[in-house]
């Protein structure tokens, strides 16, 4: 028989060494070598003999026990481990089945109480009532422990590395939901085992109170009332634990489910697109949004000319070049692309006057084309622009009056940046 005081004294004395070991033991058993290494790391000035004697004390006090069939591996004595877990507020989630088993036992105890009362056995009645009371305390303790454990599950999921896949990160949440919360919902349901058990015990206790008043007291009424109050407390506590579990885990579970659905949806859409093309994705699912409107530079007559040209459109036969014929006359220059112009402009930065630069680049360019490039390049985000004074510019055909821009790279600080629209006349 180990003296409890010695165990408690050893726990208190070696708490600094035991507490970190608890975490290791939470993850499994430790070999003698690992244990020695762990203790040596914590006690740098200790000799191997000190560690041996320390381990010897723990083994003699039953704090450490050898693992069955592996005498060189050790674990914390389960009772001590639970006690230390309680002290460290490290709660392990129990099983819903345990609560159900306790409830079945409560129902049986209610039966025994009824029997004891019927045969007017006062001692047995008091004993059964005490047992009932202690069992209810067990359930309450368990519910409280489970609630703390659920908080820890949610915290672990929320604080774990964001880089690991959500499914992996929330694996514990999903398992807890399936193995604890879901059965608890069934259990605490109006027609579940919990409610039935509580109702049965409550009926017996209330009937007992009435009968005692009629037939005379076998036990103190206070004892019955206290047990009854504790049963109601247990019922409320179960409902609160369940509510808390739902509040904590449901959003995380939904997040994980949504994540799975998104990944699955994306994979499904891609396989449909691979097999049947981009248009196969249901149009109804696609988001609709207004197309970005560009600020269109053009005067009324340009728009009129454009519409007129559209209305009077006549297709012309396309003249494809022939491989065997050499091109006569001046080779036709391909139109400039936006990318090409942007590149050229970027290479020429900083530009003291965009319009002057354009006229140098495209001396033969048509006025509307030059104005288009002026509008396009001055609005480019890569460039910072500073408004210049109004002046006249001569194109091949026209005299244009406008306020040009000086362009610099947008990465460099510019004297004045403006987003006001271009005005040309």
């Amino acid at each position: 028989m180990i003296e409890p005081k010695r165990v408690l004294r050893a726990l208190a004395e070696h708490w600094a060494l035991l507490e970190p070991l608890c975490e290791r033991f939470d993850g499994g058993t430790l070999s003698l070598g690992e244990l020695r290494q762990q203790l040596a790391a914590q006690q740098l000035d200790s000799t191997p003999q000190d560690i041996t004697s320390l381990l010897d004390v723990w083994i003699r006090l039953d704090i450490l026990v050898p693992v069955a069939k592996s005498p060189n591996r050790f674990e914390l004595n389960a009772q001590i481990h639970d006690f230390l877990a309680y002290l460290r507020r490290e709660h392990r989630l129990g099983l819903c089945l345990e609560i159900e088993a306790y409830l079945r036992h409560l129902e049986r105890l209610a039966g025994h109480i009824q029997d004891a009362f019927e045969i007017r056995d006062g001692n047995d009645l008091a004993r059964q009532l005490r047992l009932l009371d202690m069992r209810v305390r067990d359930v309450l303790k368990k519910l409280d422990n489970d609630e703390q454990a659920l908080v820890a599950v949610a915290e672990r999921a929320k604080t774990s590395d964001r880089q690991i896949p959500l499914r992996q990160r929330y694996a514990e949440v999903l398992a807890t939901w399936d193995e604890y919360v879901e059965p608890m919902i069934q259990l605490v349901n109006a027609d579940g085992a919990f409610e039935q058990g509580v109702r049965k015990v409550e009926t017996v206790l209330l009937r007992l109170l009435g009968e005692q008043a009629r037939l005379g007291h076998l036990v103190d009424d206070d004892m019955l009332l206290r047990t009854h109050a504790r049963i109601l407390e247990m019922q409320t506590s179960a409902q609160l634990t369940l509510r808390k579990a739902r509040e904590l885990l449901l959003p995380l579970r939904e997040e994980a489910r949504r994540h799975n659905a998104v990944t699955r949806g994306a994979a499904l859409a891609l396989s449909v697109i691979r097999r049947k093309g981009l248009d196969a994705v249901p149009q109804a699912a696609m988001p609709l949004f207004t197309r970005p409107q560009s600020t269109f530079l053009g005067n009324a007559s340009q728009v009129e000319a454009y519409v007129y040209a559209l209305a009077r459109f006549e297709p012309k036969p396309a003249q494809f070049p022939k491989a065997h014929k050499s091109h006569k006359g001046e080779p036709q220059r391909a139109p400039r692309t936006v990318k090409e112009m942007l590149q050229r402009c970027e290479n020429a930065l900083p530009l003291p006057d965009l319009m002057v630069w354009l006229l140098e680049q495209e001396p033969e360019g048509a006025t509307d084309e030059l104005l288009y490039w002026f509008s396009r390049l001055s609005r480019e985000k890569r460039f910072a622009r500073a408004r210049l004074d109004r002046r006249d510019y001569l194109t091949r055909e026209h005299q244009v009056s406008l306020r040009s821009f000086a362009l610099t790279s947008s990465r460099e600080p510019s004297p004045e940046t403006t987003a006001s629209p271009v005005h040309a006349s």
């Binding site: 859409a269 691979r274 049947k276 207004t290 197309r291």
Partner: protein, 233 residues
């Protein structure tokens, strides 16, 4: 509803951005705060002007185009495709797609390998080079307020939920899943055309041996009419 325009101090920039198709989120704190504080007033005003302002509880605002003008454009298809690809790519790498697309970021340097891996799909969206991927997809995303770009890092903003919703609705689409497992083309509605009784008698099949129910006069008149038609043509 009483509207005090002096309260709507950001009306002009808000309208300008929304009208361009931009999604306003917390990335634009001033505009977002105005919309949040005077949500009903803005919604009422825009509705009166014929614009439907959508206030998504996940933290963004946008205009929904009129149904008459609403059609899925190439941009929507491209951006959806990009989202599908990115979700699958991240999941393949063991990264969390939701963490990236819901407020996370993606480096510009990751784009070329993404393009290489999904070249067959990007081609369908007319995207073949990294430049095109940046121009047609990433730039569009920033223009529409789905992402922001800073020093070669694209940060995804709350409006991305619109594309994540597409993934969800595709996932829920049982017909689509079923069609994937069959070799048949996607179901299209079949309309029954009413046939003209006259047409029933016509036959162009030279091997059709069924007797003509036509008198000699009728046959002659038909031949003359056909010939006349050819001359006219």
């Amino acid at each position: 509803m009483h509207l005090d325009l002096s309260e709507l101090s950001q009306l002009a920039p808000i309208f300008r951005e929304l009208f361009k198709g931009f999604h306003i989120s917390r990335r634009d704190p001033e505009l977002y705060a105005q919309l949040s504080n005077f949500q009903d007033q803005y919604r009422g005003l825009f509705r009166a002007l014929g614009y439907e302002l959508v206030c998504d509880t996940r933290g963004f605002y946008y205009f929904v185009p009129e149904q008459a003008a609403a059609q899925v454009n190439k941009t929507a298809q491209r951006l959806s495709l990009f989202t599908f690809i990115l979700v699958e790519h991240l999941a393949d790498q063991g990264r969390d797609p939701m963490a990236v697309l819901d407020g996370g970021s993606l480096g510009r340097d990751e784009l070329p390998s993404l393009l290489e891996k999904y070249r067959d799909l990007f081609i369908q969206a007319e995207v073949q080079t990294p430049d095109e991927l940046e121009e047609k997809i990433m730039r569009r995303m920033t223009q529409l307020g789905f992402a922001s770009e800073d020093n070669g890092i694209y940060r995804f903003l709350p409006p991305m939920h619109r594309f994540l919703d597409v993934c969800l609705s595709v996932q829920q689409d049982r017909d689509l899943a079923a069609s994937l497992h069959s070799a048949l083309p996607l179901p299209t509605p079949v309309l029954i055309e009413e046939e003209d009784p006259q047409e029933l008698n016509k036959t162009d099949d030279p091997l059709d041996l069924s007797p003509f129910d036509e008198s000699e006069e009728d046959a002659l008149a038909r031949a003359i009419a056909d010939e006349q038609q050819e001359i006219d043509a």
